[in-house]
């Protein structure tokens, strides 16, 4: 799958922007604040229906405009062309058209366009909290199979329902609360046990890929491991929730479950969040993204668009060159404030100045 053309209207700082993207590597050059990251953000929005910068919808609409439009011409692997149009208005009123047909739900677009973004913010995959790493696992699962989007939403909903019930209990475990909790727990476990299995399988598959990507970037063999082993998975969630029930009622929150899981990562046997150098952490974050990208490529039979947003300046020369030497096959968009290092080559160069695009 390739995004051949991207058009932006009133998106961030673009009044209108038109980008011809090519099947190989497109280099987007622009000084900071000129709008090159907004291009990456628009591409990623098509894939996840959210901003990878965690910006609210309002922030994506150019100041003074009622709505923003992202319009993309996508060429599928079988040669079919799809026109995707996303209109961003106030929250809840976004609209999506595919080949001029309005989709019933905006989320039905998931799976139509796959994009992997690596940006400097991805350092939080290593340095951030467990929630940032859960989001990485779950985003990757959704890229592998869109059904996980519903699973994730349902788990969120059950946790909110269960927490509300626990607060209503007011610290007292009456018979009525017990019986009601029993059914919420049964429903929670039915979905969470499957989701935990999906996450564990994902991590098992990612492990060798992260390892390989890290080694390619660092240039030296490095013992590295991802571990996803929540205690509740050994007994099943129903048993774990039963064991935690007294505590949950006392605290008024669900203390056990997939919403509390951690994906731990070690380099040389030491936790990378606290014990790795800044350089190692950046390399690991990039290795995670590249591994996710490779897994999605292998499992879905088509490479997502790989967007490297302003990351070359963050890597040392050695690692930047290693990254460019080992770019996966498929469409790649690289945004940068400076020219590419001499070792690398771009099939196509776009220059962005104040939301205006020109082609070399």
């Amino acid at each position: 799958m390739i995004v051949e053309h991207l058009e932006l209207v009133d998106f961030r700082n673009y009044v209108t922007g038109s980008f011809d993207l090519h099947s190989g590597t497109t280099l987007v050059i622009g000084d900071n604040g000129q709008g090159k990251t907004n291009l990456a953000e628009a591409l990623a929005f098509l894939a996840t229906l959210s901003s990878f910068r965690s910006a609210p919808t309002e922030a994506l609409i150019r100041a003074g405009s009622a709505a923003a439009i992202i319009r993309a011409t996508v060429r599928q692997d079988d040669g079919r062309e799809t026109l995707i149009e996303v209109e961003l208005a106030t929250p809840g009123r976004n609209r999506v058209q595919v080949n001029r047909q309005k989709l019933a739900r905006v989320r039905d677009l998931l799976g139509a366009v796959r994009v992997t973004v690596f940006s400097p913010d991805d350092l939080i995959l290593v340095k951030g909290g467990p929630g940032d790493r859960r989001r990485f696992m779950d985003d990757t699962l959704v890229a592998l199979a869109t059904k996980y989007d519903n699973v994730r939403l349902e788990i969120d909903r059950i946790v909110r329902q269960r927490n509300t019930l626990l607060k209503q209990a007011g610290g007292r475990l009456t018979d009525e609360i017990e019986v009601t909790l029993d059914v919420w727990d049964a429903k929670f476990a039915e979905i969470a046990d499957q989701f935990g299995y999906a996450r564990a399988t994902l991590v098992a598959r990612l492990n060798p890929m992260v390892h390989e990507a890290y080694e390619q970037l660092a240039g030296v063999p490095t013992p590295l491991e991802l571990q996803y082993e929540p205690a509740w998975r050994s007994s099943g969630l129903v048993a774990a929730l039963a064991a935690a029930r007294q505590l949950d009622v006392r605290r008024g929150v669900s203390t056990v479950g997939p919403h509390r899981d951690e994906l731990s990562m070690t380099i040389n046997g030491l936790p990378s969040r606290t014990h790795a150098s800044q350089g190692e952490q950046r390399t690991l974050a990039l290795a995670l993204r590249l591994a996710g990208h490779r897994l999605v490529t292998e499992r879905t039979g088509g490479a997502p668009v790989l967007v490297l947003d302003d990351v070359l300046s963050e890597l040392d020369d050695h690692r930047a060159t290693a990254l460019l030497d080992h770019l996966p096959a498929g469409q790649v968009v690289i945004t940068t404030a400076s020219e590419l290092p001499p070792a690398a080559h771009a099939d196509h160069v776009l220059r962005v100045v104040a939301g205006n695009v020109s082609q070399d």
């Binding site: 809840g92 009123r93 909110r160 329902q161 269960r162 019930l165 209503q168 019986v179 029993d182």
Partner: protein, 201 residues
Amino acid sequence: MAGNYTAPVQVLIDELGRLPGIGPKSAQRIAFHLLKVPTEDATRLAFAITDAKARVRFCERCFNVSEGALCPICNDDARDTSKVCVVEESRDIVAIEKTGEFRGRYHVLLGAMSPLEGIGPEQLKIRELIARIEPEGIEEIILCTNPNTEGEVTAMYLARLLKPIGLTVTRIASGLPVGGDLEYADELTLGRALEGRRTVD
């Protein structure tokens, strides 16, 4: 929240905004639409609301909407009294009736378990359902709550409550659009789901 419009308009917007599924934006749109339509159209809507509210109540037996003490289904002697289909809302009865697959009676819970909306088993017409079993000679209870999280949890709760009483408890077959409402399922799909109902273990 302080309104930006002259008082009567703001009251109208606020009232509309309290309706299910109507956000502030929609409430505003509907309010200004109503202000534009001819007076008799607005009056007709207002009358329809007060008239329905005055004349319609809940069936004393099954909590379906009804003009009399009992709804037309409960009043129909040709109905099979040994089977009861449990639904969340009266509108689900309409959907199931359209399939022509069910000739028993109904029981409307008036909602589904949802702590976020302050609804637990106590707030639903569950005690009233239990009270019907003996006098009506109910042998099978079919759980037709919506195929979404809250509907599934409510069905589980009822199954655990009803099984020990010793009657047959069934759940409509899956195959309905997950996460959806019964009322959105087409007649054929809903009919098949009813026919393919399975005993809950």
